[in-house]
């Protein structure tokens, strides 16, 4: 990267002396197109993130004594952070595989011969447009102690529970997460299925390939990078489920619903910049790691399958 910077610098010098070839000039112009966005991103995201890193390493904004990793160790040993981290992971480990499998199923349904296909697509996609606040309203009606779900399970003799305040509160959130995200994932899988070359499937049919072979050796092979993409996107989206949980249960929900974002939000409220910064950077590292894995695997798969 440093080399490229030096390259840009020398180009600017040569521009002054009017020595640039037309191609080099054009490439410089392309940076002008980038400039507004780059400036904004620098000012609003990158520069303040530098401040966040700085804050995470000092004892407080007034004394500004360098304390090394003390803030990180504090956050790491913080009971609320641990609870939030474990809850978020638990949620992700259940919700993400379910989201991938169910949306793959929906994509398969959309691939098969069913009537009114375009209507079904609209129906499956519709949760995407429903404002979060309206969703939350309905979810409260359904999962309340006197709500619809309890009335329904009572038919089978189950005891009433206050879902949002019970150990099973995560079930409510998982249902909401799936409802909200399946349509989006389904579209991703549908476009992956559509990108499988038709000739390949025709050849397979001519060669008397079994359905099993077609599925595993062609479809799954071609979809592998999509499956990974959807998995990681769902994982990242599952970190964002805070919005719904917050609207339903407020700042301090039942223990099992206390997510990482609650921790961040409440730390915000107490204006503890050190804790906040350290927690933000820990989350940043985790997400960056996930993105990097996604990028690496896609590069690896992209070599022999251009999907």
């Amino acid at each position: 990267m440093l080399k490229s910077f030096a390259g840009v610098k020398s180009k600017i010098n040569r521009l002054r002396k009017r020595e640039l070839s037309s191609n080099e000039k054009k490439s410089l112009i392309s940076w002008l197109f980038l400039a507004p966005s780059l400036l904004g991103v620098m000012l609003f995201f990158v520069a303040p993130f530098g401040v966040v890193i700085y804050y995470s390493l000092i004892n407080n904004p007034i004394q500004k004594n360098f304390v090394g990793f003390a803030n990180y160790i504090n956050v790491w040993n913080n009971g609320a952070f641990k609870l939030a981290g474990i809850n978020t992971l638990k949620f992700s480990f259940v919700a993400v595989p379910l989201a991938v499998l169910l949306s793959l199923f929906l994509a398969a349904v959309m691939e098969s011969r069913i009537p009114f296909k375009s209507y079904f697509r609209s129906f499956f996609l519709s949760p995407l447009m429903v404002p979060t606040a309206s969703v939350v309203l309905i979810w409260q009606v359904m999962f309340h102690y006197n709500g619809l779900i309890n009335n329904f399970t009572a038919v089978f003799g189950a005891d009433k529970i206050d879902w949002l305040k019970s150990d099973r509160a995560q079930v409510v959130i998982i249902a909401l997460f799936l409802w909200k995200n399946l349509g989006y994932n389904m579209i991703l899988f549908m476009s992956a299925l559509a990108s499988i070359p038709k000739e390949l499937l025709e050849v397979a049919a001519l060669e008397n390939a079994t359905k099993y072979q077609v599925f595993w050796y062609i479809k799954v092979r071609y979809m592998s990078s999509s499956i990974l993409f959807v998995t990681i996107m769902s994982l990242i989206n599952s970190f964002k489920v805070f919005r719904e949980v917050y609207l339903m249960t407020g700042d301090y929900p039942v223990d099992s619903l206390y997510m990482l974002q609650h921790f961040m939000n409440n730390t915000f409220a107490s204006l503890d910049y050190q804790k906040l910064s350290a927690a933000a950077i820990i989350m940043f590292i985790v997400v960056t790691g996930l993105v990097y894995i996604m990028y690496a695997v896609e590069n690896y798969y992209g070599k022999d399958v251009e999907g």
């Binding site: 990267m1 490229s4 390259g7 054009k26 490439s27 197109f33 980038l34 400039a35 507004p36 780059l38 991103v41 000012l43 609003f44 990158v46 993130f49 966040v52 929906l106 349904v109 098969s112 069913i114 009537p115 079904f120 697509r121 129906f123 996609l125 995407l128 447009m129 429903v130 404002p131 979060t132 606040a133 309203l137 309905i138 409260q140 009606v141 309340h144 006197n146 619809l148 009335n151 989006y184 579209i187 991703l188 476009s191 990078s225 999509s226 993409f229 990242i236 970190f239 805070f242 919005r243 609207l247 990482l260 961040m264 915000f268 989350m283 940043f284 960056t288 996930l290 990028y295 896609e298």
Partner: protein
């Protein structure tokens, strides 16, 4: 009938059964997916006494202090006893705060969609032309920023708005929205699919970069821009985290935040407000579904 015909007939029967099973599965999913929306709409036409009788026990208990039990169980009703527009009347003419919050939502979302898309088309063109190592690295940084949960980006946002003195004002929502990397990422992916030859041909004919961008590249990207605008709209129409952290004055909050607060209080109005809030995205969804699908499809795969 010979053997072959028999086999063929049998296969067709099996196929029909399969189709039926799959259709039923799809129907079940469709019902589950649609129920919340239908429920919101039909309930908005109920009178407040009917709503309170149906849902009273849910929401009366969530309020502090007074526990008024109106009905023991929730009667989840799809069809109102009597269709009434009373709730809409109250929302539209008697309680101006809902309309103010609705207006707030529009004030936030409209400029963000327009400006973010404007900056993003320029930037995406910059990224997709004359690709280099440095650009690849910066683009990767954009991807990471885009995927960060709000709670990570909110800390920097908060610090910047304090430093610039815009904390608590509308600008603290607008400015980070204008420069969000989301639209840049998607549009870049879209523009990379335009064959270089198309743009190069114009370049050889002596067109300058701005001409190529505005007259050749932009018309080719119309669909992409529309689909990404829809996604950006949905995202900001639903924003909750940013106003909670960056706006301390509740009068400036958008309806997305405010709606959740009336859930406990004026429950009878909540459904009508929810429907009103649903109308803009619903219209966009009905008219732009194909664009939306296209927009999501570009997101598949990080490399593009």
């Amino acid at each position: 009938m010979n053997m072959l015909q028999k086999m063929y007939k049998k296969k067709r029967r099996i196929d029909n059964v399969k189709t039926a099973v799959v259709t039923v599965a799809a129907l079940i999913f469709a019902v589950v997916f649609l129920m919340p929306i239908i429920l919101t709409i039909t309930n908005s036409f109920m009178s407040s006494s009917e709503i309170n009788a149906n849902y009273g026990s849910i929401f009366a208990t969530t309020e502090k202090g007074g526990k008024i039990f109106i009905s023991k169980t929730v009667n989840l009703k799809f069809i109102p006893d009597m269709v009434t527009f009373a709730q809409y009347f109250t929302v539209l003419f008697k309680s101006p705060q809902y309309l103010i919050k609705f207006w707030n939502s529009i004030i936030y979302v409209a400029p963000i969609v327009v400006v973010q898309l404007g900056i993003a088309t320029l930037a995406a063109y910059g990224f997709s032309r004359y690709d280099g190592k440095l650009k690849r690295a910066i683009f990767f940084a954009y991807i990471i920023m885009m995927l960060m949960p709000y709670q990570v980006t909110l800390v920097p946002n908060f610090l910047v708005s304090k430093a610039l003195g815009i904390y608590g004002s509308r600008w603290s929502i607008w400015l980070p929205g204008f420069f969000s990397p989301f639209a840049v990422y998607l549009l870049t992916k879209f523009m990379r699919r335009i064959p270089t030859e198309v743009l190069e041909a114009a370049s050889i004919d002596g067109a300058d970069e701005w001409y190529i961008f505005s007259r050749i590249n932009m018309p080719l990207c119309k669909g992409g821009i529309a689909s990404i605008a829809i996604l950006v709209f949905f995202d900001y129409w639903n924003m909750v985290e940013q106003p909670l952290i960056l706006l301390d004055d509740p009068d400036l909050h958008p309806l997305s935040v405010f709606l959740s607060k009336i859930n406990s209080g004026e429950i009878s109005l909540a459904f009508a407000v929810a429907v009103i809030y649903l109308i803009p995205p619903l219209l966009i969804f009905l008219y732009g579904e194909d664009y939306l699908v296209e927009g999501i499809s570009y997101q598949g795969g990080i490399k593009g």
